[in-house]
C-alpha cells in the first residue's frame, strides 16, 4: 500500500515514451491526456469520472502499468514506477467484464495469484478462506467458476486481488457495466464494506455519476484529457470548479447563465449584482470587487432555486413539467435562457403544481451562486465553502 502520485502526465497514442511533437510536418498527435496532476493518499477510495473518450481509461492504464505515458511519471509511495510492469507495481484490477479462469474452481481462482508467487499451501488456504468469507463466497468455493453469475464473477475477480494482502491499489474499470441494475446496488455496497474492512487504495473508473459519488471519498472529474476537478462529492456538487463539472454532476445539471457583473453600489452600501438581460441578481457581498464587467457566467443548481410568492422575484415562464414522483423537474425560460428547477412534491408554499405557460417568481439565493469566466470558477458558492469546511 502506498500513496499514488501522477506527475505531469501527458499521453498520446501516436507518440512513444519521450516522443516529441514534430513541428511543421504531419498531423499533430492527438493527446488522450494533457498535464494530469493527481495525488491519492494511501487507503482512499477514489473515482475517475467523465464521459466516454475523456481519457479516464487511459489514465487507469498508466496507473496500472499497461500504458507507458508519453511524458510525466507515476510514483507509488515515492518510488518512480513509470517504467515498471503491472506485476512489479503489485496492483490488482477488476475489468469491465468479469475475468475469471473458467476451467478452475472458485477456490483455485482465488489461490491462483498466490500459487504463482510460490506461497506455502497452508498459507494459501488460510488467505483464500479469509477472503472467501469476507466476500461471502465460501459456499461457492468448490464450484467451477464458469457457472457463476456475472456479479459473482466480478466479486471473484475482486477476490483475486484481495488475497494478495500487500497490493498497492485495486483498480476498477467500469466494473458494473454488465451487472443487472438491482445487483449493482448490492455490489457497490459490498465494495464499500470491503474498503472499510481492508483499507486498500481503491481507484474506480466510471461514467456513471451515481456510482462515482456513492463509492468514492474523492472524485476526479475529467473531460477531453484534462482533470477539471478533484474533490469530495459535496465539493463537486456545491462548488464545481468548471461549468462542465456543474453540468455533468447532478441531475439535472447546473444552470449556467451568461451575465455581467455590476460592482457594489457607489455609496459604499449594497452588494455586487449580476445582470442577465434586464434582470439584476444579488451576489454575496464577499465576491471579489475586481470582478466586474461582461463575459461572466452565473451557475446555480436547479435544487437551489427558490420559488417566491411575491412579485419581486425573477419571472420564469414554465415550458415543461416532468413529474419524477419524489420531485418535479420544471423547465422554464428567463427571457430566452433555459433554466431548470427541481421542486419537491407539493411544497408547502405552493398549492398547485406549476402549469405550462405560468410565470414563476423565483430567487437565486446569493450563497448558492457560483461565478465562472471562460468556464473556470472565479467565485465559488459561499454556502459550499462553509459546508465543506
Amino acid at each position: 500500500m502506498a500513496e499514488i502520485v501522477v506527475r505531469a502526465v501527458s499521453h498520446s497514442y501516436q507518440l512513444a515514451r519521450g516522443g516529441r511533437e514534430r513541428t511543421g510536418r504531419g498531423a499533430p498527435p492527438g493527446w488522450a491526456l494533457r498535464d494530469v496532476e493527481l495525488r491519492w493518499r494511501d487507503g482512499g477510495a477514489y473515482a475517475l469520472l467523465g464521459p466516454s473518450g475523456c481519457g479516464k481509461t487511459t489514465l487507469l492504464g498508466i496507473i496500472s502499468g499497461l500504458i507507458r505515458p508519453t511524458r510525466g511519471s507515476v510514483l507509488y509511495g515515492g518510488r518512480d514506477v513509470t517504467d515498471a510492469s503491472s506485476r512489479d507495481r503489485n496492483i490488482a484490477q477488476v475489468f469491465q467484464f468479469p475475468v475469471v479462469y473458467d476451467t478452475m474452481t472458485v477456490r483455485q481462482n482465488l489461490a491462483f495469484p498466490l500459487r504463482n508467487r510460490g506461497l506455502a499451501a497452508a498459507e494459501i488456504d488460510r488467505r483464500v478462506g479469509r477472503i472467501a468469507e469476507a466476500l461471502e463466497l465460501t459456499e461457492l468455493l468448490p464450484l467451477r467458476a464458469t457457472g457463476l453469475s456475472a456479479d459473482q464473477k466480478q466479486i471473484l475477480a475482486l477476490g483475486r486481488g484481495l488475497v494478495r494482502d500487500d497490493v498497492a491499489a485495486i483498480l476498477f474499470d467500469e466494473p458494473l457495466t454488465v451487472i443487472d441494475p438491482h445487483r449493482k446496488w448490492l455490489l457497490r455496497r459490498k465494495l464499500k464494506e470491503i474498503h472499510r474492512q481492508f483499507h486498500h487504495t481503491l481507484i474506480y473508473v466510471t461514467h456513471d455519476q451515481t456510482e462515482a459519488l456513492t463509492f468514492a471519498d474523492e472524485v476526479v472529474v475529467m473531460q477531453a484529457g484534462q482533470v477539471l476537478q478533484q474533490g469530495t462529492p459535496e465539493q463537486l456538487f456545491l462548488q464545481p470548479a468548471h461549468t462542465y463539472v456543474g453540468y455533468f454532476i447532478g441531475s439535472p445539471g447546473m444552470n449556467v447563465l451568461p451575465c455581467a457583473i455590476e460592482p457594489a453600489g457607489g455609496n459604499g452600501g449594497g452588494a455586487p449584482r449580476a445582470r442577465i438581460g434586464d434582470h439584476a441578481i444579488a451576489l454575496p457581498p464577499a465576491v471579489d470587487r475586481a470582478l466586474t464587467g461582461g463575459g461572466f457566467e452565473l451557475g446555480i443548481r436547479p435544487e437551489h432555486i427558490a420559488v417566491r410568492g411575491d412579485a419581486a422575484g425573477l419571472p420564469l415562464v414554465v415550458t415543461t413539467v416532468a413529474d419524477h414522483g419524489r420531485f418535479r423537474i420544471v423547465s422554464a425560460r428567463l427571457d430566452d435562457l433555459p433554466v431548470k428547477l427541481r421542486l419537491g412534491p407539493a411544497a408547502a408554499d405552493e398549492a398547485d403544481p406549476p402549469a405550462v405557460g405560468q410565470i414563476l417568481r423565483v430567487a437565486f439565493p446569493p450563497g448558492r451562486i457560483c461565478l465562472y469566466r471562460d468556464g473556470r470558477i472565479v467565485a465559488p458558492a459561499a454556502a459550499g465553502r462553509e459546508g465543506a469546511a
Binding site: S86, Y101, N116
Partner: protein
C-alpha cells in the same frame, strides 16, 4: 400478443425448400438405398436380395484392411495436425504487416485444387527429379514412394499435414484473436507464467474452435480420395487404399453397384455416428 393460427398454407411456404432438399439429398440417398437391397443384372432385370449385400460387404477382408488403414490414417492426421496447427497459431505474429504475410503463406496450400496438391507431391516426392525425394535419396535413404509401402504411406500423411495443418492454424489463430486483452492483463497481474496463460486462458477459450477443427479434419481425412488417388493410386499394393478409394473401385471400377451402395450407407452412418459421439463428448468436456 401474437396469435398462432394453423393454416395449411404454411406447407406451401416450405415446399420450395423441400423440393430442393429432395433433389440434392433425399432422392440420391434413396437411390443408394434402393441399389443396396437389389441385385441389378441389367436395365430391366433386378432381384430383391434384402440385406445380402450388407452381409457380404461387412465380411470382406479387403474392406476390413481398408477400414483399419483409414482409422490409423485419420488418427495420425489428427494427432499431428491439431497440436501442430495450434502451435503455429500461438507463434504467429500479432501486429503489423507480418500478420498479412503469415496469413497468405498459410492460406496457400488451402487455395490449391486437391488434384493439383496430389500432382505437386507426386513430382516433389519423385526420387529421381523431385526436390523432396531426391534430397532424401542424396541423404542416403532408400526412399521411393511408388515401391515402398511405408514410404508411400508416410508421403500421403506428410502431404495431408502440409495441405491441412494451415486450416487448423487459421482457425486457432482467429480463436486466439477473439480472446479479450483483459484476460492477458489479468493473468499478468496475477503473475501467471506463459504455460499458465496457455493452460488456463488460451486452451479453454479455444475449446469450441478446436472441436470444430477436429470434426472437420476427421470427416475430411476419413473421406480422403483425390490426393492419394493422384499421388499413389492406392498403391503400392493396397497400402494407401483408403475407404473411398475402395468404394470407387467397387462402384466404378467393377460396377458392383449393390455392394457399393450397401457400403456407402455403412460409411455414411459410421461418420454420422462418430461425429455425433465426438460432438457430444466435446460439449460435455467444455461445460465440465
Amino acid at each position: 400478443m401474437i396469435e398462432k393460427t394453423r393454416t395449411p398454407r404454411a406447407w406451401l411456404l416450405i415446399l420450395p425448400m423441400l423440393v430442393l432438399v429432395s433433389f440434392s439429398a433425399i432422392v440420391p440417398l434413396m437411390t443408394v438405398v434402393n441399389y443396396s437391397v437389389q441385385d441389378i443384372l441389367g436395365p430391366s432385370t433386378k432381384v430383391y436380395v434384402g440385406f445380402e449385400w450388407f452381409r457380404k460387404v461387412l465380411r470382406d477382408p479387403d474392406l476390413h484392411a481398408a477400414f483399419l488403414r483409414q482409422l490409423v490414417f485419420s488418427a495420425a492426421v489428427l494427432a499431428i495436425e491439431v497440436p501442430l496447427g495450434l502451435g503455429i497459431s500461438l507463434i504467429m505474429p500479432r501486429r503489423g504487416w507480418a500478420i498479412s504475410a503469415a496469413l497468405v503463406v498459410l492460406a496457400l496450400p488451402l487455395l490449391i485444387p486437391w488434384n493439383v496438391v496430389g500432382t505437386i507431391w507426386q513430382i516433389f516426392g519423385r526420387p529421381d527429379i523431385g526436390m523432396g525425394g531426391a534430397a532424401l535419396v542424396k541423404l542416403g535413404l532408400h526412399y521411393n514412394y511408388t515401391l515402398d509401402r511405408v514410404d508411400a504411406w508416410l508421403t500421403v500423411l506428410v502431404m495431408d499435414v502440409w495441405h491441412w495443418t494451415p486450416l487448423i492454424a487459421l482457425l486457432c489463430y482467429s480463436g486466439l484473436r477473439a480472446i479479450p486483452p483483459a484476460y492477458y492483463q489479468a493473468a499478468a497481474i496475477d503473475g501467471a507464467s506463459t504455460w499458465s496463460v496457455f493452460r488456463y486462458i488460451q486452451l479453454p477459450k479455444l475449446g469450441n474452435v478446436l472441436a470444430i477443427a477436429v470434426l472437420l479434419r476427421f470427416m475430411d481425412s476419413f473421406m480422403i480420395y483425390t490426393e492419394p488417388f493422384v499421388l499413389t493410386g492406392g498403391g503400392p499394393g493396397n497400402s494407401t487404399t483408403f475407404l473411398s478409394q475402395y468404394l470407387t473401385t467397387l462402384a466404378v471400377g467393377q460396377f458392383d453397384l449393390g455392394p457399393a451402395a450397401a457400403f456407402s450407407l455403412i460409411y455414411f452412418v459410421f461418420i454420422l455416428f462418430f461425429c455425433y459421439v465426438f460432438y457430444t463428448v466435446m460439449n460435455r468436456v467444455g461445460r465440465g
